[in-house]
Each structure stands twice: as structure tokens, then as C-alpha cells.
């Protein structure tokens, strides 16, 4: 018996209208599945389309953004075919989101408890005191004393704000939680606490998490699956174990090299590897493979034809896909 994916993103393509009628293709042909109760990591440098992916799924793109093609199936329903009114009923009730800077994600002039209660009452018909009871439970779930509900966001520390944000995200017991770089703005100790909290809550409530991050260490610790994104496309996609241990795409390989390996001795004289250059501007994408200008293994074909995602031979059910011409031996011989 196979488990149906909770969220299934298919060939998602999103464009932004820039000043002067220019079009930036922020996402192209992005596909991945999120299984119930599992965690999937979206990784890549800034500007690779990670946040745009989340915003496209929740249909919260700014006015200049537009999903031009693709499907987003949530429990079998294509969210992209819903009216705005129908979509609103799905937001937060079934999928909620926590952001990078919880300082700015909470309304500064509203008490924390009121903001959480508002989320509860938006989607549930219940008396005020029952909602208030739930606010208390949620706060305690994330380790904040009930009495702190009457404080304002600026009276919370950074870590507490992110906890409160998580409590708010859990208000309607969603099946899916998007976490957009939830720990980036926090110091290392608090980062660890917040991640630990997320794991604990996932275990308790069985929700699925989509974790956007550029911290590969976090991915290794948290995620079942990984989507490596580059220039708005999926470069490599597979189980975290396979992507880490047998990275196929040169971008993934370089990303992993650029990440400090704590198992090596710290006074190692070798500097951390860097990937020269920057991700492409989305309104001036290079022809062919988008990573080719920065790729140390770039070939002639790479600058002409964009590679497709190719399934790798893996043992068992685990899947592993990568988009690189190097993996298509046949094509190389022919060219």
C-alpha cells in the first residue's frame, strides 16, 4: 500500500513582472512531493526561488507575481483552481507558515495572545473563552507561560517570538507547516532550541514540514527529503541521505564542499571551498543549464541545452533525481 502525498507540486512555473515590462521567471517546472508527517528541505543560495515556491503554493505572491502553469495538489485538490475565497479557508487551517524574522511577522501593536486567538477564531466557531483556553495550551506547548499572552511582540526575546509564531502556526492544527528560514535571524543556541521544538512538535502532532534554509547542517538533521534549487529550477531532488552521500549535481557537490565539516579537525589549514560567482539574475538567465557559467565541469552542451531531471539508479524505493548533462552518458557521446 502506498501513502498518497499530502502536497504534490507539479511543474510549477511562476513569473514576476518587473519594471519596464520585463519578465523574470522565478520558478520553472518545479515538482516535488511532501509526504504526511515528513520533513522536506528546500535548499539553495538566496534568489533561487525557495521562498517564491512557498508563496506560490499558498498563493500569497505579491501583485507582480503570477503562476503561469503547473498544479499544486493538496490532499488531491488543486489549490491553483480554487477561488480566492475558497483558498482562504485552506490557509492556516491546513497549511500555516512561519517566517524568518518573527519580529516583523507579528503585529507590533497587538498582544501576542490576541494574535493567536485571532487565528483560532478565523477558522473555528467556538466561544471566546474556549479560544482563550486554546491560546494558553498553544503557548505552553511551545514553552511559553500562559501569563505572557498579554505581552506585545517587542517585549519578547527573538527566540520567544519565533516560539510564539510557531504556537500561532499550530492554532488550527494544520497538516503542513512551511518554515521559511525559521532560524536565520536567531543566535546559534536559540536556533538549536527552535529546531528541537519543531522536531518535538512534529513528533507529537504528526504534521509535515517544508523547511526552507541555506543551512545544510539543519537539513541533514531535520529532513527526510531534500530539494536543491538553482535559478528557479530543481537541480537535485531525493532523500536527504542520498543527496548528502551521493550528490550528483555539481551544484550540490559544491554546496556541500562549501559547508564546514565538523568531523574534520578544526585547525585544518584548508579554507572552506566557495562557489565563484553569484546565482543568475532571473530576468537574464543563461541559455542551457543555469549553473553552467559557474560550473567547473561545464561542457559545450551545458551552454546550449537545459538538462532534464534524470532519475538515478537507487536501491529500494528511495528516489533520487538530478538535472545534469554529465549524468546522461549517451548524450555526451553523441555531442
Amino acid at each position: 500500500m502506498t501513502v498518497q502525498p499530502l502536497l504534490s507540486v507539479r511543474h510549477l512555473t511562476t513569473e514576476f513582472q518587473l519594471a519596464g515590462k520585463q519578465i523574470a521567471r522565478a520558478l520553472e517546472d518545479v515538482s516535488f512531493d511532501v509526504m504526511p508527517g515528513k520533513t522536506i528541505g528546500l535548499v539553495g543560495e538566496s534568489g533561487c526561488g525557495k521562498t517564491t515556491t512557498l508563496m506560490s503554493i499558498m498563493r500569497l505572491l505579491p501583485a507582480s507575481g503570477r503562476i503561469t502553469s503547473g498544479n499544486v495538489y493538496f490532499n488531491g485538490i488543486d489549490l491553483l483552481t480554487l477561488s480566492e475565497h475558497e483558498m482562504r479557508a485552506h490557509r492556516w487551517k491546513e497549511m500555516s507558515i512561519i517566517f524568518q524574522g518573527a519580529m516583523n511577522a507579528l503585529n507590533p501593536v497587538m498582544k501576542i495572545g490576541d494574535q493567536i486567538r485571532e487565528a483560532i477564531l478565523l477558522h473555528n466557531l467556538m466561544p471566546r473563552n474556549a479560544a482563550e483556553q486554546r491560546v494558553g495550551e498553544l503557548l505552553e506547548l511551545v514553552g511559553i507561560p500562559r501569563l505572557r499572552r498579554d505581552l506585545y511582540p517587542h517585549q519578547y526575546s527573538g527566540g520567544m517570538r519565533q516560539r510564539a509564531m510557531i504556537a500561532m502556526a499550530l492554532a488550527c492544527s494544520p497538516d503542513l507547516l512551511f518554515a521559511d528560514e525559521p532560524t536565520t535571524a536567531l543566535d546559534v543556541m536559540i536556533q538549536a532550541q527552535v529546531l528541537e521544538l519543531l522536531k518535538e512538535i512534529q513528533k507529537k502532532l504528526g504534521l509535515a514540514i517544508v523547511l526552507v534554509t541555506h543551512d545544510l547542517g539543519v537539513v541533514a538533521e531535520m529532513c527526510d527529503d531534500v530539494v536543491v534549487m538553482y535559478g528557479g529550477k530543481v537541480a537535485e531532488y531525493g532523500s536527504a541521505e542520498l543527496v548528502y552521500n551521493q550528490p550528483q549535481h555539481p551544484y550540490t557537490q559544491r554546496l556541500l564542499e562549501a559547508f564546514p565539516d565538523l568531523s574534520r579537525s578544526i585547525d585544518s589549514s584548508t579554507d572552506l571551498a566557495t562557489i565563484p560567482g553569484t546565482p543568475p539574475r532571473l530576468n537574464a538567465l543563461p541559455p542551457g543549464c543555469r549553473f553552467s557559467p559557474r560550473c567547473h565541469k561545464s561542457m559545450e552542451i551545458c551552454t546550449q541545452i537545459a538538462p532534464d531531471l534524470i532519475a538515478q539508479n537507487t536501491a529500494g524505493n528511495a528516489q533520487h533525481l538530478a538535472a545534469c548533462h554529465l549524468l546522461n552518458k549517451l548524450e555526451i557521446k553523441n555531442s
Binding site: 482562504r88 492556516w92 517566517f99 507579528l106 503585529n107 507590533p108 501593536v109
Partner: protein, 325 residues
């Protein structure tokens, strides 16, 4: 800082400011050129030097400015005695009070309308950015804000009286003086209409522009995205999350404008010959009526300071972050 400490501090600060204003106000009128006695006499050259000297003594102008005149003046002010108007020969405080009601009526009405319309328009324009509503409201507000007060007043005065038969001067028709208030309300309204309209249009633009930029800034904040992600409709987001945050700069503006209303009304009251404080100030200025001007300045400064204090307190009520800093 507790709420009580905060209020107390703001109050004390206001008192200190008022004292400084009093000192400056006193000095200002002592360093100004011109001899008050000459001003009172006017061109009547036949008044003898002895009589002039007697007048100086009567007004206490023969004593040294500091400390005698200063202490004397402050003492009198503290008792509510702002001196005698040279041109009207009546106590300054009495003159000021008799005009205050008219001005507050005009300005209050104009400001309330301008605030309500301007804020609503700015909210709509910012929310429906780059639509016809936005462009229209923006153009109107920029033009309205840029128009000189007296010019718009004169145009309205001419158009209103020529085409609609509206009165051109005063606060009521002369024959209505002394009649019961209820019976002359329509007449009062006819007189108030044009100056209020002018005032509303002039201030509306400013409120609209500030509100528009404020709401645009707020709408780009992360907590607005959070509110949308919670599944709220645009109206709910606007009403529950955007409005209160966007109102913060407006509160300051309202307080500042209310403080300056008295002076801001000078043009309008002069153009419409409206019998209020603004017109009184203008008269006092033209006639070099120093005691009256001095009283007017004091009233102005105190009203600005009180309005500022009110803004601070209101701001603290609206924004919980203020008290900490």
C-alpha cells in the same frame, strides 16, 4: 516605565516648555522696535512730552526691563491678566476669549472633515495602488496641498457669492445679532460653509498623502503577509492589522495641525472676514498692538504644546512600544 511615570514626565516637560515660551515671548516684545506710547498716540502730535511720560509710567514702561518688568509681567500673566490691548482698549484675555469660540468652531469643523475625508481617501488610494482611484486622489491631493490658502479662499469667495449667493463676510448676518441660537443656525451655516470648505480642501491633501504613504509602508510589512497567510480577507487585513499601524503618523500630524490651527486660520479668517482669532491676530499685527500680539503668541504656543502632549499620550496608547523607549 509605568504609564503614570510616562504621563507625569510628559506633563512636566510640557510645563517646562511653556515656561521657556513665556520667557522668549516676553523678551521678543521688548527687543522689537517701536515705541508703544507713540503707537497709542498715533499721529496726534499735540500730546505733550509730560503726558507721554505719564503714559509710560501708567504702563510701567519706565522701569528696567529686567527684573522689574519681567517679574511684574509674569506675575500678571499667572493671574490671567495679559494686559490691555492698545488698539481695542480692552483686556487682552477678554478679547482673546471672545474670539476663541468662533475659531474653534471653524477650525474644528474643517479639521474633522479634512481628517475623515483625507484618511479615508489615503487608505483607499494606498490599498488600490496604481488604479484610477489612486491616481485621481493623488493628483487632487497634491494640487490641493500646493494651492495657497488665500488664493483658494478668494476663488471660493468670488464663486460662492456670485453663483450661489453665499455671504462674503462675518459669521452671521447683522440683523441676527443677539437672536436665540436655534433660530440663526441656518444663517451661521451659510456663513461657515465657504471658509470650512476651503479649510477642508487645504488640509485634506496633506492627510491623504501621509495616510497613503503610511498605508503603503505598512502593507509591505511582514505581519501583513502573516495576516493574509492566516486566511484573512483583504478587508480584515486592512481593518484589523494595517489601519492601526498606519494611523500612527497621522496622530502626530493631527496634533501638530490642531496646535497650529489658530495661526493657520489667519489667512482664511482674513479672506472671509470671519470674526475669529486669526483675524484678530492680523489686526493686532497691522496696528502693532504688542500686548494683544503677546497674548496671542502665548495662546498659540500653549495650544501647540498641549496638542503635542496630547499626541504623545495618544501615541503611547496606540503603540505599546513607545513607553519603553
Amino acid at each position: 516605565m509605568s504609564r503614570r511615570d510616562f504621563l507625569l514626565r510628559k506633563f512636566l516637560l510640557s510645563l517646562v516648555t511653556i515656561f521657556v515660551v513665556i520667557v522668549i515671548n516676553f523678551m521678543l516684545f521688548r527687543v522689537l522696535p517701536g515705541d508703544p506710547v507713540r503707537s497709542v498716540i498715533g499721529r496726534n502730535v499735540r500730546i505733550s512730552a509730560e503726558t507721554q511720560q505719564a503714559l509710560r509710567e501708567q504702563f510701567g514702561l519706565d522701569k528696567p526691563i529686567f527684573p522689574d518688568q519681567f517679574i511684574d509681567t509674569i506675575g500678571q500673566w499667572a493671574q490671567g491678566n495679559l494686559g490691555i490691548s492698545w488698539s481695542l482698549r480692552r483686556p487682552v484675555s477678554e478679547v482673546l476669549m471672545s474670539k476663541l469660540g468662533n475659531t474653534v468652531l471653524l477650525i474644528g469643523l474643517g479639521q474633522v472633515l479634512a481628517i475623515f475625508l483625507g484618511v479615508t481617501l489615503g487608505l483607499l488610494a494606498g490599498w488600490k495602488r496604481k488604479t484610477a482611484i489612486d491616481v485621481g486622489a493623488l493628483t487632487f491631493s497634491l494640487v490641493a496641498w500646493a494651492i495657497p490658502t488665500f488664493w483658494l479662499g478668494i476663488i471660493f469667495l468670488a464663486a460662492g457669492s456670485a453663483w450661489f449667493g453665499l455671504p462674503t463676510a462675518g459669521i452671521m448676518s447683522p440683523e441676527n445679532t443677539g437672536k436665540p441660537l436655534m433660530t440663526i443656525l441656518p444663517d451661521l451655516a451659510r456663513h461657515l460653509f465657504l471658509p470650512t470648505l476651503t479649510l477642508t480642501i487645504l488640509y485634506l491633501g496633506e492627510y491623504m498623502l501621509i495616510m497613503r504613504s503610511s498605508i503603503l509602508e505598512v502593507l509591505s510589512e511582514d505581519y501583513i503577509l502573516t495576516a493574509k497567510a492566516k486566511g484573512m480577507s483583504d478587508w480584515q487585513v486592512l481593518w484589523r492589522h494595517a489601519l492601526r499601524n498606519a494611523m500612527l503618523p497621522i496622530v502626530t500630524l493631527i496634533a501638530l495641525n490642531l496646535g497650529f490651527t489658530v495661526s493657520g486660520a489667519i489667512y482664511i479668517e482674513t479672506v472671509f472676514s470671519y470674526d475669529g482669532l486669526g483675524k484678530l491676530f492680523q489686526t493686532a499685527l497691522v496696528k502693532q498692538d504688542y500686548p494683544l500680539l503677546q497674548g496671542a503668541f502665548l495662546l498659540l504656543a500653549v495650544s501647540v504644546i498641549i496638542a503635542n502632549m496630547a499626541a504623545d499620550i495618544l501615541y503611547a496608547v496606540l503603540d505599546p512600544r513607545v513607553k519603553e523607549s
